[in-house]
Assembly symmetry: C2
Homo-oligomer: 886 residues x 2
């Protein structure tokens, strides 16, 4: 019989897959003899089984749970539901990867009409017993039975109003008894049956609820954002309750071994006395700093500090721990590697190396590449900041600078951000439902909550700037107004937040880009030492090129020439070319573009300071360059001096049923070779001139897009070489150049052996390759992809994370076939996947030579490439430096 | 040193690849000691070398040509260009595959100002000598130098007018001398240099011209139509001239060993006395029947008959021969397997089997599958024909019935046919430039030319009905009028032609479809005996299904359900479904469609008489079902009782940037599972009812289109199975059914191992697969494909002939992967390639189980499949009969 249930004594920290992160770490701490309340874990396999059985917990699993419960009862000398001294347990989720706040928790399970009396007797505290019972009924109704929780809150409020109370602590035991009665009758009204008195029923239903919560919408969104597979499932931890709300010698808290915002070494955390579990995290009361515990209970504080240090040394990483003090006794409820800001992650990694705890490779692997993004986010311009006026302060919950207009709800933030507005989300406090809105915002400001509140934890994870717990802030969501230090602001007012200081400005402040220096620079150097993939950038302007070089790009992997054509002073020439009727007319128009293109390429080469650049020839269909509305056509016809009807008919003639699959890419060069001629001349002359001026040795790289057949490439290449060779000879130069192609059409992938005979490099255009391989266009897929996610047909967006099974297999086929006929061929990627860590890992394993990504993704790519090579070492193909050329 | 030149004595009939068809057969006849004028062949490899050398004949090849010439001169005792008794040669093209009229010929080569005198002296016939010279200059100027030939014709006409002559024979030797002088000075004017007097220069230039003609536009079109690869090249045959125009004891003719129109055994042909080579073929004079030769010269006739019989026995096929009689002596200039009509091809093949000359397999392989098409073309309805009035008669040049309006030029025929008109092309005579127009026409009518004229030969090859040599016909192309037996007709008048009788009607006559009986039936039985592929049909209506069954279809491989939705009485329901806002509304609309769909399927099953049918679920994007113009939307909104704005916004919301890659296929079933539910119910209930009514055993086959991931198929299949199993259980039936998928997206091909785990059959949708694999849409490719043909990047239309290298390799990958995880899976094709012989050959070699094609392609597919299996035998996978089911 398969084992589905493990007592904490039976597990250990390596069993994350089976027991989930929380369960494995509880087991590990138990093994380290730390004060962990006893309990057991129902495995992730039981979760999978639950789904396979049609959302049922089968008899075998139930009987294993009950057997474990019986052992626990024996050990504790208490029984679940007992009317004298009842055992109470918590039921908590715990997946392999931490998903904070995404899934459900039920506390105080085991209470019923009888055992509540037992608890009252045993503790001598009827108020505590009935408060625990009403909390349990409330949680069970909400989480397990999915009833409307607001009704329960209203019942509570009504009693308080009736009695004239201002806060919960004023409620007496009798009040709470009354509330329990009202709760139970509301439960019956909703559920059609009494609140379950049988503790085993409570336990199984609660376990089911946790399993079910794995599939709730916000968990699905979180997983998609974090590449967590749906089929992992969650474990369930069933653990003896300890109470932080048993009076003033009880309490509960959260602490980190290092500062999760800055990385500074030293205990960092918060606690609340006389509070239960989720109170600290939920941000409803503002907690005390952990250091105050030293004064309050030095002995316990020392014990806690020792435990935290042991844990950090044991896990060799910064720990995030939850603890409870029950009547003066410390209990550890959780430890895990703590989430941290990017700055903190860098500092911690480097400090741990310096402290001799880990080596460089480990340090490189500790940083989530996606986090680096936040370091590249702009900071406030120091000059602009001088003139700015601080209006208030909150807690510096997640660093960075944010500037946007005020949004009052997550939905509003999403909608306005989609419409192109920059928004700052302002909330009383945030909840897990707000995730998408937080992600869409420049920054988050909350009135309530500490450094470990929901808003703070989630914002740090996302790398979004956050200021939390601002006492001066009053949020009036209904009227779309906030009051900040006495002044009122609305949806059209600007806020600027400094997430590193907590300072709030009620104005728009200019921001400046970040630089790769200090800890960041050190870690990037280590990454470069260990990676095998080269990293280039996709850039079309000297500004982007220079930015990418600052971020460590080794050159340009994709320079899209069409972006240069769209500029207002150039588009007339390209339009003239489009309406040309003869080759001569086209050449005449192209001749006007030549000096501009050449100038562009020179500026690009100079910005790259001698690094190589792959220039992709004109790619988009020509209709993208002409207007389509009659009034625009009338105007253009006037400007061009041709009749409206003629221009209109040319434009109508350019219309395509499926522009993605139309007359574009190298097909343009096949029909209009003069375009390729002009572009070749521009590239080659630019390189010759820059080489002469600077004494550099640039080897131009020309890339032919959308090739599907070797003969297409051969034809266009013959035009390129004819022009290039002539210019080089006329200049008496010995400059060499390369001609390669994009592999972005399935046919190119499966015939790559033939194509490689004519190409010096392949660059996988994974955007188009994904579209063609899946047979759906990115523009249109939005209509059905949401339903594909809902139905678990796709778990991730194939345009964000490369589809290894389909697109990946074409990449492998093309690589193998290409290298078979041309062993020297260089293979790279220039689609957007080149900047996605899990895709980079695939490209590394597939044996490619380089990735090219947008400038702001370059550090991420360097780091992800290093992590891949540390995990899957392969021969380093070339010394980091120039990838192509001599 | 490679051998590029072969004397006729050095070759034989098996050397077609090297010597071309004409050269190999001249060599073979020489070996058979037949009276062939001596000569030699410059090989196809020399042609390839010519193109590789940048259209130059290199020194090595030149010296081999001159060496062969020297031997020939020695043997003949004459020298090229000799002023006493000159050798004259013809220079003729000859490719591997016969391409009649496509390439160039030069006669009388070796004449110059001196040798013309030698010829005059030696023959004692100065008129003949100067006529030969002026013909040579004319041909050389036109064919070799590509000068405007009309100027030469005008010079000739001017002299005739000046002298008051009516025809060429009236020209005297002196007239011809004057013409030669005028021709030479026109040559010099055009060319800037004198007409070449050096015979070796003439010879090399003429050889180059033949090589060059391989690449002329009409040859390229012909090759594309006939799947002849460009890289084959042509050989050049250089042969001693014999003259059919040396007076009344000379002549020239063309003959077949059997009647190429009917297949009847017996000599069939035409000749002209005192005429040169091309005169018979060109159709300028109307020739005599070959039987008349018997009376004119019985001895020579007997010699000729014996030769023709020897040749037919030798080649075991009907021969098409050219001969010349020079002063009473017979010379054979060519033999080849004769082109024939489809009827003739069948009769000849079956007669040859009956005569014991060949076996059934050989007979099956002798028929060009594409030719069968003509047998399936309609014939005149016998009742309608009774009331029709014959207005004139011509020669029955190519059988079949044609009915259309009069087109006066090839371009006009192409344009009007494209616009949807049925046209009959009426010409004085046709020329190779007319090919496309002939192909676009229902039938061809010419005033001049015999049964072997250009029009007749080409029309028979194409299977287009043709009546030639109609003496009553006057064509006035300029005024777009014809006169037929005294009456005038214009572009809007109907003509009906009977290609089997030569009768012409000036009215529209109803036609009826053909049947597979007689010789056709016999050959199809033989084909079925030898094929391994099953043949199904693509049909959406009972009429098409019944037609396909008549043509031998084993069932339906693709029934497109959307065609049923487009019918006027149904489209309101589908539109109601589209504008529905909820699942309930959609189900309500679909409920209206259910009885209609079920009725359709029942009718289809009944038409198939128990044969299996694969039903493809709804495929096109929903916007295809709604109008897009405002006025149509206004009307529809009124009919549907919803506001215009609402309907308009729904329709705008359906717009897609790339509909080919949009929300269609199984993506519709993922977003709207209720569509799949309705369709499943319709299919399953129809099959159950028909099985009950007829006592049949139909096993319904449901095909899910556009699958790209196994999870998509799994999801839709779960819906199908849920509905189907429920209905079957409710009916207490034990009927089984199958669920399969189309493989038409590249991702499906490369992940076919996974998909095969959920599919009972794959049907390759090669139309979409070709589009996605090449990354171009059929609708848009028209803009650049012509340039791809011009530049030899593609030689054939990948939508007509499957691209083996790219699309084919995906088909192979998918087949291998699919069979690896599901060895029982059935593999087929339902794209249009299923009706293309060379594609069928690929599908056979790739190991597929079946092809499905349009009803009129079924016989073709049966034959092509048999030919493939005879050439590449493989295990026959199942007895011909039911492919699927129990």
């Amino acid at each position: 019989m398969k084992k589905f249930v493990y007592a904490f004594e039976e597990g250990n920290g390596t069993m994350r897959e089976l027991l989930g992160g929380k369960g494995a770490n509880l087991a590990e701490m138990t093994g380290l003899k730390m004060p962990v309340p006893p309990g057991f874990t129902v495995s992730t396999e039981a979760c999978t089984q639950y789904y396979n059985d049609g959302r049922k917990i089968n008899d075998e699993i139930q009987s294993q749970i009950f057997a474990a419960l019986e052992k626990l009862e024996k050990r504790m000398g208490k029984k679940l539901g007992n009317e004298d001294d009842p055992l109470l347990v918590s039921v908590r989720s715990g997946a392999r990867a931490s998903m904070p706040g995404m899934m459900d928790t039920i506390l105080n399970l085991g209470l019923n009409d009888k055992s509540v009396e037992g608890l009252a007797k045993k503790t001598g505290n009827p108020r505590f017993a009935y408060d625990s019972y009403r909390r349990f009924i409330q949680m069970f109704s909400d989480v397990v039975m999915e009833q409307d929780k607001s009704v329960y809150e209203r019942i509570l409020d009504d009693i308080k109003t009736k009695k004239g109370y201002k806060s919960d602590p004023e409620l007496t035991a009798d009040d709470l008894k009354e509330i329990v009665t009202l709760f139970k009758s509301n439960y019956k009204k909703n559920q059609g049956e009494d609140f379950p008195q049988e503790p085993k029923t409570q336990l199984i239903e609660a376990t089911k609820a946790v399993f079910r919560s794995w599939d709730n919408p916000r968990a699905n969104v979180y997983r998609r954002m974090n590449d967590i597979p749906y089929d992992w499932g969650t474990a369930v931890n069933i653990q003896c309750m300890v109470f932080g709300n048993k009076g003033e010698t009880s309490g509960t808290g959260v602490a980190f071994t290092r500062n999760p915002a800055t990385g500074e070494k030293g205990l960092f955390g918060e606690y609340l006395m006389n509070a239960q579990g989720e109170d600290v995290v939920a941000g409803i009361r503002t907690p005390k700093h952990i250091n105050e515990l030293k004064e309050q209970n030095p002995e316990l504080y020392d014990q806690f500090v020792e435990i935290t240090q042991t844990l950090e040394k044991h896990y060799k990483d910064m720990q995030d721990m939850e603890f409870t003090i029950e009547e003066g006794k410390l209990y550890m409820l959780q430890t895990r590697n703590g989430k941290r800001t990017a700055q903190a992650a860098l500092k911690i990694a480097i400090d741990l190396v310096n402290e001799g705890m880990i080596d460089e490779k480990k340090a490189v692997c500790m940083i989530d590449p996606k986090q680096l993004d936040t370091l590249l986010h702009p900071q406030f311009d120091s000059k602009a900041l001088k003139n700015a006026t601080e209006v208030s302060r909150g807690l510096p919950a997640s660093p960075g600078a944010a500037c946007g207009k005020i949004a009052f709800s997550a939905d509003e933030a999403v909608a306005r951000a989609k419409a192109g507005e920059k928004v700052v989300l302002v909330r009383l406090e945030t909840s897990p439902e707000d995730i998408e809105g937080m992600n869409a915002s420049e920054g988050i400001l909350t009135a309530r909550g500490g450094m470990t509140s929901h808003a703070a934890v989630v914002a740090r994870g996302m790398g979004v700037c956050c200021v939390s717990g601002c006492p001066d802030l009053i949020v009036d969501e209904d009227n779309k107004k906030i009051t900040l230090a006495g002044k009122t602001y609305g949806a059209n007012d600007w806020l600027s937040l400094d997430g590193s200081t907590g300072i709030i400005y009620a104005e728009q402040i200019k921001t400046v880009p970040a630089e790769v220096t200090g800890d960041f620079g050190t870690l990037m150097q280590w990454a470069d030492k260990y990676r095998a993939l080269h990293v280039r950038t996709n850039a079309d302007t000297p500004r982007d090129a220079a930015q990418a070089v600052k971020f460590g790009a080794e050159g340009i992997g994709l320079c899209r020439t069409e972006h240069m054509f769209f500029e207002p002073q150039r588009i007339p020439a390209i339009r003239e070319m489009i309406v040309s009727k003869t080759e001569e007319e086209r050449e005449h128009a192209l001749a006007k573009l030549l000096p501009m293109q050449k100038g562009d390429f020179k500026a690009m080469y100079i910005a790259l300071e001698g690094r190589p650049m792959t220039v992709r020839f004109l790619d988009p269909p020509l209709h993208e360059f002409v207007p389509h509305e009659d009034w625009e056509i009338i105007e253009l016809a006037k400007n061009m001096g041709i009749p409206f009807e003629e221009l209109k008919s040319t434009i109508v003639g350019l219309h395509e049923a499926n522009p993605m699959m139309g007359h574009r890419g190298c097909r343009l060069s096949v029909t209009y070779p003069e375009i390729a001629k002009m572009q070749t001349r521009a590239v080659i002359e630019a390189a010759l001139e820059v080489n002469a001026e600077k004494g550099w040795n640039i080897v131009p790289e020309i890339m032919i897009p959308l090739v599907g057949d070797v003969k297409e490439l051969k034809y266009v290449k013959s035009i390129v070489c004819e022009v290039a060779d002539k210019i080089i000879a006329e200049n008496k130069s010995n400059m060499t150049y390369m001609v390669g192609t994009m592999i972005e059409i399935p046919r190119a992938a499966v015939t790559a052996d033939r194509i490689a005979e004519e190409a010096q490099f392949f660059s996988f255009g994974t955007n188009d390759l994904t579209q063609m391989t899946f047979g759906f266009s990115r523009d249109d897929a939005g209509k059905f992809l949401p339903e594909y996610y809902n139905k678990k047909i796709y778990e991730s967006d194939p345009f964000a994370k490369v589809d290894e099974e389909g697109v990946g297999s074409l990449i492998k086929i093309a690589s193998e076939k290409g290298r078979a006929t041309n062993p020297k061929i260089k293979l790279g990627v220039c689609g957007e996947h080149g900047g996605d860590p899990s895709s980079i890992d695939f490209f590394h394993r597939a044996g490619l030579d380089y990735v090219s990504c947008s400038p702001f993704r370059v550090p991420l790519a360097r780091l992800a490439a290093a992590q891949s090579n540390i995990k899957h070492p392969r021969t380093i193909l070339g010394k980091i430096g120039k990838l192509f050329g001599k």
